[in-house]
């Protein structure tokens, strides 16, 4: 009897334990055990101000300059494909540094595998994708109508600007105007994988810019640094300039001039100082500043072009020394042109060896300790904290980049006026520019002579401002001028860069390469 009881008791304990185990076994884990929200990474659903943030993100793409990696919009790849490729500047730096990549662009030896060509393509398309994302978010954003339209205008402006750069660099490119649903979608939609014609791209650009013109306020009603009506009108005018639609160019530039929002700065040098940021002359300027306690600017813009130590050495230099103004440019300036000084840092090669003292007091030694003869003064930003803001990060100096200035608008106005037969108006415009430059009035009268005078003025006014190469191509004299400057330019081929080889391969060979490559 007792026996039985003991057995039962032991069994009791066991049954209890077994039951507990069984419950555990059925797995106390609830069905949401596997629904784990993402830690530390926001999604579209978690951000209430998504549209506004994406718009700022679009502006941020203007600063990208990762030429060896993720994509370049205004970094060294952009500098190489605009300034260095033209007769304004040479590769610079030491003879062997970047002889492959930049050397190729300098002498028109580029192949479809050139790294900078690839990073320009991916940089601009990356920017365009950000624009498309922002536009998609803006469709459903909760903001008042006027603000929404303004933001859409700003984003479409930037998209138009990116396509403008793409079409000038590569010709027709895939016309991407929406966000792909997935990688599949992008691979199967023909629009993503075939090149639209240059004309189609231009139409698209004009649409975007027109919307921006109509929906952004004037400059004095806009936050500094944001896109405003004057900016949109000026870029649209430039687009028409490339299409040779002189009437439109005239109308738009006339609008800008008469809006009263802009004026030339009396001192040319001042444009390039930090104090001259967002001045009355500034129309489209890439903003730089401080973020996360560090300098925040276009990646590498200043340091790639800073004066470089060479020869005897013995001083801490300012950069890698690329994009040096060419002898061709330096000797072409007229006597007394006040624009020469602020554009070119001239290295002292005299026997006295005084060196060159820059505006902030920094002394660049004489030629026996410096690699090159000339450097781009328009890319110089002082490292002296008492003169200009600098927190120590050379790669991201706070140097605003001037993409459109009032002077450019005046020159476009002049060119359009001349083409429309209004030589007088054109001469007035040129003379305004020349007077500021400390030069006498132009001797040109009309027609071809005046045209060439305007073109010449463009060169000196906008030297080293990423315009020269495109200007020469649209003027139809790229081959003539560049070959005369000693470059290997082949007409019918070198007006455009090659489509990157990797992109052609990834498109399944649907993208057609440019002629000659």
């Amino acid at each position: 009897m007792f026996l039985f009881n003991m057995k039962k008791m032991n069994n009791h304990i066991f049954f209890k334990i077994m039951l507990a185990m069984a419950i555990l076994m059925v797995n106390a884990c609830s069905p949401d055990f596997l629904d784990v929200p993402l830690q530390g990474k926001g999604t579209a659903a978690t951000d209430p101000a998504l549209a506004e943030n994406l718009v700022v993100g679009v502006y941020n793409s203007l600063l990208s300059g990762d030429a060896f990696g993720g994509g370049d919009t205004h970094g060294i790849a952009f500098i190489s494909a605009t300034n260095i490729m033209s007769d304004d500047a040479d590769k610079g730096s030491t003879p062997s540094d970047q002889i492959g990549i930049i050397g190729e662009l300098d002498n028109f030896l580029q192949t479809p595998t050139n790294t900078f060509v690839a990073s320009l393509w991916s940089g601009y398309f990356s920017g365009i994708a950000k624009c498309n994302q922002a536009l998609q978010a803006l469709e459903t954003a909760t903001a008042d109508d006027a603000t929404k339209k303004r933001w859409i205008g700003e984003v479409r402006f930037i998209r138009g600007y990116y396509y403008f750069n793409l079409v000038r660099l590569f010709g027709g490119v895939p016309l991407v105007s929406r966000v792909p649903l997935s990688a599949e979608d992008a691979n199967t939609d023909p629009k993503f994988q075939t090149r639209a014609t240059a004309a189609e791209i231009y139409t698209f650009i004009k649409d975007d810019l027109l919307y921006a013109v109509e929906n952004t306020p004037l400059r004095n009603a806009t936050q500094k640094g944001r896109i405003n009506r004057g900016t949109a009108q000026s870029l649209l005018a430039k687009v028409y300039l490339y299409e040779k639609n002189w009437q439109k160019v005239f109308d738009l530039t006339q609008s800008v001039i008469q809006s009263g929002q802009y004026a030339l700065l009396p001192d040319y040098e001042q444009i390039w100082r930090q104090a001259g940021d967002n001045s009355s002359e500034s129309i489209f300027e890439i903003q730089t500043g401080v973020f996360n306690n560090s300098d925040f600017g276009v990646n590498g813009y200043c340091v790639w072009q800073g004066p470089r130590v060479g020869g005897k050495g013995g001083w801490t230099d300012l950069g890698f020394g690329f994009c040096t103004p060419s002898e061709n440019l330096v000797t072409a300036y007229e006597m007394g042109d006040k624009r020469r000084g602020p554009t070119i840092i001239e290295i002292d090669r005299t026997a006295e060896r005084r060196g060159t003292v820059l505006y902030d007091g920094f002394r660049v030694p004489s030629k026996d300790s410096v690699e090159n003869f000339y450097y781009n003064y328009k890319a110089y930003h002082s490292e002296n904290k008492n003169v200009e803001s600098f927190l120590g990060n050379r790669d991201k100096k706070q140097k605003n980049i001037h993409l459109l200035r009032y002077a450019d608008v005046l020159l476009m106005h002049a060119e359009a006026s001349n083409e429309l037969g209004q030589a007088g108006q054109a001469i007035n415009d040129i003379n305004t520019i020349r007077t500021r430059a400390g030069l006498s009035n132009t001797a040109a009268m009309a027609g071809q002579g005046l045209r060439e005078a305007i073109w010449k003025e463009r060169r000196f006014e906008l030297a080293m401002e990423h315009d020269r190469f495109f200007d020469l191509v649209r003027q139809g004299r790229a081959a003539q001028v560049l070959r005369a400057a000693g470059k290997n330019f082949v007409a019918g081929k070198h007006e455009l860069l090659p489509v990157p080889a990797l992109q052609i391969e990834l498109s399944g060979n649907k993208l057609i390469q440019n002629q000659g490559y």
Binding site: L38, G57, N60, D97, P180, F192, Q193, G392
Partner: protein, 998 residues
């Protein structure tokens, strides 16, 4: 009357208690039947439980079992025995030698099985085999011993090697095998002290790994740590002390050779000067390494414990590099009664690393000119001002990076056996890690205070401090029920269970500049607050699974094992979250069949076949969710920037499991009285829906140009051969030899979406060097074919294609002639060809041991063949002032030399070509150890039972065809492996040590 009844009741209940709950003690000795020597470390396992013990240094054992338990005694090289125990007994067990390894008990997923009953492909390695080698992790010691397993180690102190089982079966989602340590699933075993390991079991084929479902695709390595044993406490001390140095260094040009080459390459006169610096010599050193272990093992009848302490110190052959690890482990088992059993294993490891930024320094040591001094009179030679390359010695000394890693790994289990054959087991394992990372960069100028010549870009105007703290916790909870029963000759073993797992991680980092150089002031507060930056992130994922297994054995002749597992993971999108992974294995023991039972040739002949499906879900948690990248700011009007964000990555919302289906055939044999034994195996693995980063065109707007998606299928087919010979000549001499060979063929069989994957960019003009495409192995090299060298201008001009175009119009004499594969008149990416893969076609090992009286000599050799590697270092020459390898200094092409294999002196920047692709075949003497067992009488007086001294050398000699540093390159990602850029040099170690037991 009642008193009598009471007394009777008490007595009978006492008997009942005695019979039911009471256990019996079984103790005794285990000796070798022929030599009469005691067997140390023999295993005694109580069948159908996981309890057991191990014989001590006298061959003695003692444990408590419930009456009726079957005790299985086994030891490697001997025939096992089984004895049923009913009451307290002392057994004197004599084991007869048998080299039928298959009698041993091996660990399988969630249980143990006799090797002879296994239908899948598994291998078991004893802990002592692994402990012999002076390496950090047990997997490194595994190299060359097991078919189908490739171990690739780097020489870096504190690093864990890659374990690749049966070829690369995935492209991205982690190629490493799964490690299970005492039930805890982990990816990193650098914290496990090899001396604590009892056995290491490798599960290779899908039918054995299917029980691990979603984690089994790359194979599983199960590690069991030592438990204690009842009896007097045993103390064991062993150490090994030695030194390490770089084993294969390339000789770089000296000052004269360099001056000659650079003059030719630059066209300017480069002079040799007074110094000739050997940069590798400057940054490498002979390093000391030591390893000490002390363990205590003992227990009573109910309670056994094992405590071990270990200290490992590896200086690292690169200056300033050092790794130290302190480990303590405590394992204990407690048997409450015959039905309840519980245990705990716990370990704490403190690993301290002084890290060096090897990438930059190593690259610079290759490129720096030997004409510049290294470090003289307290100042550095300025290579930066000369050739824009940093001084590598300064690169390694201008910073101080320290990582302290605390890791607690523990598990506990509770086992209940309510009735015979039925067992419930619940176990919880967890792993808690904390990493404290501190990096300081010294401030230094590029003037004469630092350098011998001033100038250059190697300078740091502001000192900076970065402090990071990272915490992670992983827990896994298993609940398993198993039931074992027999129906006559048919034995069944059923198992069902469920497991849940969770992992959380979070880290915080802060940096500030202008922190003083005094080490005691390396805290964030001493820096300039105006320069503060901070960052932090986290991760969390979970898994949940249901599993079941059936083992069937009929008369020890016919074997069936079937498993099924359902896995759900939070890292896969909800629509595809659950995966089902079944498997089946069949075995036939021919040697137990009547027609073979009495034959004299075979002791064991077994055929087995299996099929299984396993998965792989090792993807980042955000792999299928579109996330927003924050802090993309813009400073409107200058000043402080306004924050913004963007969507920069395209994700695949339909991400699903990778699955691998594997078919396996095997033959296990043992003949000639067990002297010759081994196995032959065949496997065919098809892995599909593999996650891979597919390059997408820039027009999609994906900033890094890649999207993670299931896009590939890979097939691995192979043959494995293992052959062992073991014999005892007489009482004094015995020896054994083993050889294994694995042949593997890897092939991409499908690319969904049709896009080949281009990867392996090295820099310069070499944007990609590998192409993964159908019909070729993963990560095959795809480069231009070099045909020779242009000897003169005439050859350049006459090198025309079919349509009359000069193929290389811009070439000069001395440049390479490339093959125009499509004969279109120009050399471009369309002319690239496939030239082989980094995956070896065959890898093999050969090992042996000879024991003569008290002396023992063992060695093992490892090698592979049939693969190629890419000499990425040579490809990184970016300037004519860069240094070159000594062999190229004079062996280059010059006018009139007629050389066809080397180009003229050049400034680098050459395209990817077969010039950089070299054979990866090698053979290495992995380990050779000589040991001597001391046992003079006086040791016994000091109560020292056993002493052994040994001398060992690791990686003493390598024969390889490759001209670079090492042909063994740890995986980067499967589509870009086998490229040597900054590989840590492999090291050879010579050490000696002593093992003592008390």
């Amino acid at each position: 009357m009642s008193k009598r009844i009471l007394l009777c009741a008490i007595l009978s209940s006492a008997v009942v208690l005695y019979l039911q709950g009471q256990e019996v003690r079984v103790s005794g000795t285990v000796i070798d039947a022929s030599t009469r020597e005691s067997i140390i470390g023999g295993t005694l396992m109580v069948k159908n439980t996981s309890s057991g013990t191990v014989t001590d240094t006298d061959g003695q054992f003692s444990l408590m079992v419930s009456p009726g338990s079957v005790l299985a005694i086994s030891y490697i090289g001997y025939t096992s025995q089984e004895i049923t125990v009913w009451n307290d007994t002392t057994l004197n067990i004599e084991l007869a030698t048998s080299t039928v390894l298959l009698e041993q008990v091996v660990v399988v997923g969630y249980g143990t099985q006799r090797k002879v009953d296994i239908t899948g492909a598994t291998v078991s390695v004893q802990g002592e085999e692994l402990a012999k080698q002076p390496v950090l992790t047990a997997t490194q010691a595994l190299q060359g011993k097991v078919t189908g397993v490739q171990i690739i180690s780097s020489g870096k102190p504190g690093s864990s090697p890659n374990v690749r089982i049966r070829g690369t079966g995935t492209a991205l989602a982690g190629t490493s095998a799964l490690f299970v340590v005492d039930g805890i699933l982990t990816d990193d075993i650098s914290n496990i002290n090899t001396a604590d390991i009892v056995s290491l079991d490798v599960l290779k084929d899908a039918s054995s790994t299917a029980i691990y479902g979603a984690r089994g695709a790359n194979g599983v390595v199960i590690i069991t740590t030592k438990k204690g044993q009842s009896g007097p406490t045993q103390i064991n001390y062993n150490n090994s002390i030695g030194f390490r140095e770089a084993s294969n260094l390339i000789r770089m040009a000296n000052a004269e050779e360099y001056a000659n080459y650079a003059s030719a390459a630059t066209g300017t006169a480069v002079t040799a000067g007074g110094t000739s610096t050997d940069w590798y010599n400057e940054i490498l050193r002979r390093a000391w390494t030591q390893n000490h272990n002390l363990s205590f093992s003992g227990g009573s009848d109910k309670h056994t414990h094992y405590l071990s302490l270990g200290y490992f110190d590896d200086e690292g052959i690169v200056i300033n590099n050092r790794f130290q690890r302190f480990a303590v482990r405590y394992n204990t088992d407690y048997r409450l009664n015959s039905r309840v059993n519980m245990g705990i294993t716990a370990s704490y490891v403190n690993a301290n690393t002084r890290d060096v930024n090897l990438g930059t320094a190593y690259n610079n040591a290759y490129r720096a000119a030997p004409t510049i001094p290294g470090f003289e009179e307290g100042r550095y030679g300025n290579t930066s001002v000369y050739q824009n390359v940093g001084n590598p010695i300064l690169d390694l000394s201008n910073n101080n990076n320290r990582l302290i890693n605390h890791r607690i790994q523990s598990s506990g289990f509770l086992e209940l056996k309510p009735i015979t054959g039925l067992t419930f087991r619940s176990s919880i394992g967890n792993e808690l890690t904390n990493v404290a990372d501190r990096g300081y960069n010294f401030q230094f100028n590029n003037d004469l205070t630092t350098f011998l010549t001033s100038g250059g870009n190697q300078r740091n105007p502001n000192s900076s401090l970065r402090v990071k703290s990272e915490n992670s916790l992983r827990w896994v909870w298993d609940n398993i029920v198993s039931y074992k029963f027999d129906l006559g000759e048919n034995h069944f073993n059923l198992m069902a269970g469920t497991t849940a797992e969770q992992y959380t991680l979070s880290w915080v980092e802060a940096t500030r500049q202008n922190v003083p150089a005094d080490r005691d002031l390396w805290y964030i507060n001493t820096g300039n607050a105006n320069t503060s930056t901070n960052a932090g992130e986290g991760d969390k994922w979970t898994r949940n699974s249901y599993l079941g297994r059936l083992n069937f054995n009929r008369s020890d002749k016919y074997l069936v094992t079937a498993t099924v597992r359902a896995d759900g993971s939070s890292r896969i999108a909800a629509a595809n979250r659950w995966g089902l992974f079944p498997s089946i294995g069949l075995g036939w023991l021919l040697s137990n069949e009547p027609f073979l039972k009495n034959n004299t040739l075979f002791e064991l002949l077994k055929v087995r076949a299996s099929w299984g499906k396993v998965g792989n879900d090792r993807v980042p948690s955000d792999a299928f969710t579109t996330t927003i990248k924050p802090n993309l700011a813009y400073p409107f009007g200058g000043g402080i920037a306004t924050p913004g964000s963007a969507i920069t990555q395209i994700k695949d919302p339909n991400l699903k499991w990778e699955t691998t289906e594997e078919f396996d055939l095997g033959l296990d044999y043992s003949l000639l009285n067990g002297r010759l034994f081994g196995e032959i195996g065949f496997y065919d693995k098809k892995s599909k829906d593999l996650l891979i980063n597919v390059k997408v065109p820039s027009v999609t707007g994906d900033e890094d140009g890649v999207v993670l998606t299931n896009a590939a299928s890979i097939q691995n087919t192979g043959l494995e051969f293992a052959l062992n010979w073991r014999t005892r000549v007489n009482t004094n001499l015995d020896y054994k030899f083993g050889a294994n060979l694995t042949l593997n063929k890897n092939k991409v069989i499908g690319l969904n979406g049709g896009q080949p994957i281009l990867d392996g960019g090295v820099g310069g003009a070499q944007i990609y060097t590998t192409k993964t495409d159908n019909e070729y192995p993963v990560g095959s090299f795809y480069v231009l074919q070099v045909l020779g060298v242009f000897q003169n201008q005439l050859e350049i001009e006459s090198n025309k294609s079919g349509n009359g175009q000069i193929r290389q119009p811009n070439a000069s004499p001395g440049d390479f002639i490339y093959q125009d594969d499509n004969d279109d008149g120009k050399i471009d990416d369309n002319d690239r060809v496939f030239v082989g893969s980094y995956q070896p076609k065959a890898y093999f090992g050969f090992n042996g041991e000879v024991n003569f009286k008290s002396i023992s000599l063992s060695f093992d050799i490892y090698g592979n063949t049939g693969n190629v590697v890419y000499n990425g270092k040579k490809a990184l020459r970016l300037s004519p002032f860069d240094n070159i390898e000594a062999s190229l200094a004079y062996d280059r092409w010059v006018t009139g030399s007629g050389i066809q294999t080397e180009p003229a002196a050049n400034s680098g920047y050459l395209p990817a070509s077969t010039y950089y692709v070299e054979s990866g075949s090698f053979i290495r003497l992995n380990n050779i150890t000589l040991s001597y067992a001391l046992s003079p009488a006086w040791l016994k007086v000091a109560r020292i039972k056993n002493t052994r001294v040994f001398l060992t050398a690791q990686n003493l000699f390598t024969w390889k065809k490759y001209t670079g540093f090492t042909a063994e390159l740890p995986d980067d990602s499967p589509t870009r492996s086998g490229i040597e850029t900054n590989a840590y040099p492999t090291t050879k170690t010579i050490a000696g040590g002593i093992n003592v037991s008390f």
